[in-house]
């Protein structure tokens, strides 16, 4: 959860027009952007979008062909991976199988000037922080997936890096464990105050955990924003489609007056949109997007101050806490999906029922 208002924090990582090629393949196509100190930052995108490559350029495992990566103001061009102020939690966790848990966690302390006893205490503290107190003597290969991940975290955090890099750390865990670890990671990040950079393809995970998210497609950052902006005001149809569920309805721009844009939306009718609802045009055929939860199904006798449109239920999808309805709008072929919370006394409607759907213009986003 990231509801803290964005205070201006100093920059920790800066990308300046970063390009990376694998032979002919253009993997990173001019990445620009900053990650702030103490922030939980996510790189989100489908597989092959370059998010892991970008993370590895921060760690120093991948060189870049042009541009610059700066960490804490220093250009990392000539700094090898072992001298960078970053540590990584690998997707496979990369726990050393020939070492005990304590030896794994203490791996990076070899040149630490502290005494053996002090280092042992630091290892024990790190293990306690990730909830593995007393596991030090265990063989690393005898751990479960979740425990391995905790060891990987302790091993990285014990070195007090400026940046912790996490490469899809939760993808190998089952759903329950994953949700549990998401919350734990958020808490841990607040506790240690280190900048976390997470790579994930799971938009829900990114929304839950991050202060800010960079959505990447095909080697470019499509949008860099906080989760709420990303969800409510995606800047392109592609981002809107990738984050959550979005209905897209064909529309026509009929006029622009004083920063407002008037659109004719198929099945819904005319609507006046504020400028912030209309991201910069890309020359595509205009469509409006609206989220399922911004539409409301009106039960018989129910009234609303919102505008309404009639429709026919085409499909009912029951989720336990929610029901999704696919509804044809106003006798057109425009179908939208809307979600209703299953509160007590609210019946699940049947396919073919005639219903009224309430909507409001402020929930629309125009892509064109």
């Amino acid at each position: 959860m990231s509801n803290t208002p964005p205070k201006p924090k100093p920059t920790m990582i800066e990308f300046r027009d970063v390009h990376k090629y694998y032979g002919e393949y253009h993997a990173l196509r001019g990445i620009n952007g900053t990650i702030r100190a103490g922030e939980f930052f996510s790189l989100l995108g489908p597989s092959g979008c370059g998010k892991t490559t970008l993370l590895r350029t921060i760690a120093g495992f991948e060189g870049i062909d042009s541009g610059a990566v700066l960490i804490d103001g220093k250009d990392m061009a000539r700094v090898p991976a072992n001298l960078r102020p970053t540590n990584m939690v690998f997707q496979s966790y990369a726990i050393f199988p020939h070492m005990s848990v304590a030896e794994n966690v203490g791996f990076g302390l070899r040149r630490d000037p502290r005494s053996k006893a002090e280092k042992a205490r630091a290892v024990e503290d790190a293990l306690e922080m990730v909830g593995l107190k007393g596991y030090g003597a265990r063989a690393a290969h005898a751990l479960s997936g979740g425990q391995r991940q905790r060891v990987a975290l302790a091993r990285a955090l014990i070195l007090k890096p400026k940046v912790l890099l996490l490469d899809e750390p939760l993808s190998a865990l089952d759903k329950k464990m994953r949700e549990h670890m998401q919350v734990e990671l958020i808490k841990l990040q607040r506790q240690v105050g280190i900048t976390f950079v997470l790579v994930t393809h799971d938009q829900e995970e990114a929304l839950v955990m991050s202060d800010r998210i960079a959505v990447m497609f095909e080697g470019e950052i499509a949008q860099l924003a906080d989760p709420e902006t990303l969800y409510r005001r995606p800047n392109s149809k592609k981002v809107a489609d990738f984050i959550g569920t979005m209905n897209f309805i064909p529309a026509e721009v009929v006029g622009e007056t004083g920063g407002q844009i008037e659109v004719q939306v198929k099945g819904l009718g005319r609507a006046r949109l504020e400028a912030e609802q209309c991201p910069a045009g890309r020359g595509d055929a205009p469509v409006v997007g609206l989220r399922p939860e911004t539409l409301t199904l009106l039960y018989p006798g129910q009234t609303t101050t919102e505008r309404t449109v009639d429709g026919i239920i085409d499909e009912v999808i029951y989720f336990g806490d929610m029901t999704y309805y696919d509804v044809y709008l106003g006798g057109t072929d425009v179908e939208v999906r809307l979600s209703m919370r299953n509160t007590p006394g609210r019946p699940i409607l049947e396919v073919g029922s005639k219903v009224d759907v309430a909507w409001s213009a402020s929930a629309l986003v125009l892509f064109r």
Binding site: H98, S100, G108, A139, A140
Partner: protein, 293 residues
Amino acid sequence: MARSTSALGRSEARSGLLMISPTALYAVLLLAAPLATVVIYSLATGGRGVITWDFSLANYVEVWTGPVYRAIMLRSLIVALSVTVVTVVIAYPIAYFVSFHVAPSKKSLWLFLITIPFWTSYLIRVFLWKVILGYNGVINSGLLGIGIIDEPLTWINYNVGALVVTLAHAYAPFAILPIFVALEKIDRSLLEAGQDLGESKLRTFWRVTLPLSMGGVIAAVLIVFIPTIGDYVTPDLIGGGKLPMIANMMEVQMLKINNKPLGSAIAVSAMLIVALLSLAFVLVNRRFLGPAR
């Protein structure tokens, strides 16, 4: 219930025994029986084809105290250990190179090329080394021809060094393969993790790659050490009969002098040395494999 399972267990055990019996029989006939024969022979007294069944340890006393036998056993040990060290030290970088620096699509080609020496008979390879290293061999005549030396080098032929060179060349592929397999199994992200945690590439090699490949190194050591200590052909051909090793001494006792009991005692002693050294080596290297195993 318990009764029926145990009855079932018995019948399963019976059919299991039945199934392995051809193999077991084979092993008994071809391994255990000859071994027992040799051990029994070693306890008898003999000479010039006559064997007295008096069951004493006299042969062992002679083998372990006689200066000639001790010298030959020591030479066998030195040769085998040197060959092992040289072979593994040469094989490791080759295996490392193929595993880490050869493109995945080219690896099988490289392994295939490494096995090329096996295409010719071992005997022919030994003879070739004799031709190369001999008194009038390629190296000596070459060096004489271009005037670097005035008379043929003697330290490259008929000595332990020549034995080591020949044997190391013969066994190198056997050492490369297990080390290669061990290196292939190492998760490459472990090496990145080593660097990520602040260690240089060299340090990461020492702390991660080498310990994780020790299994392959141990296999390579045993595969090279065990056959070389009992090698018979190479000392005979390269050493020109002047550098006998254990196997050559056995041949002399068994066939030429016809003292089967003493020959058997040498054989059993050699086996004990190999067994003890191999065991010691495996135990010492347990340390490398760490607490994880």
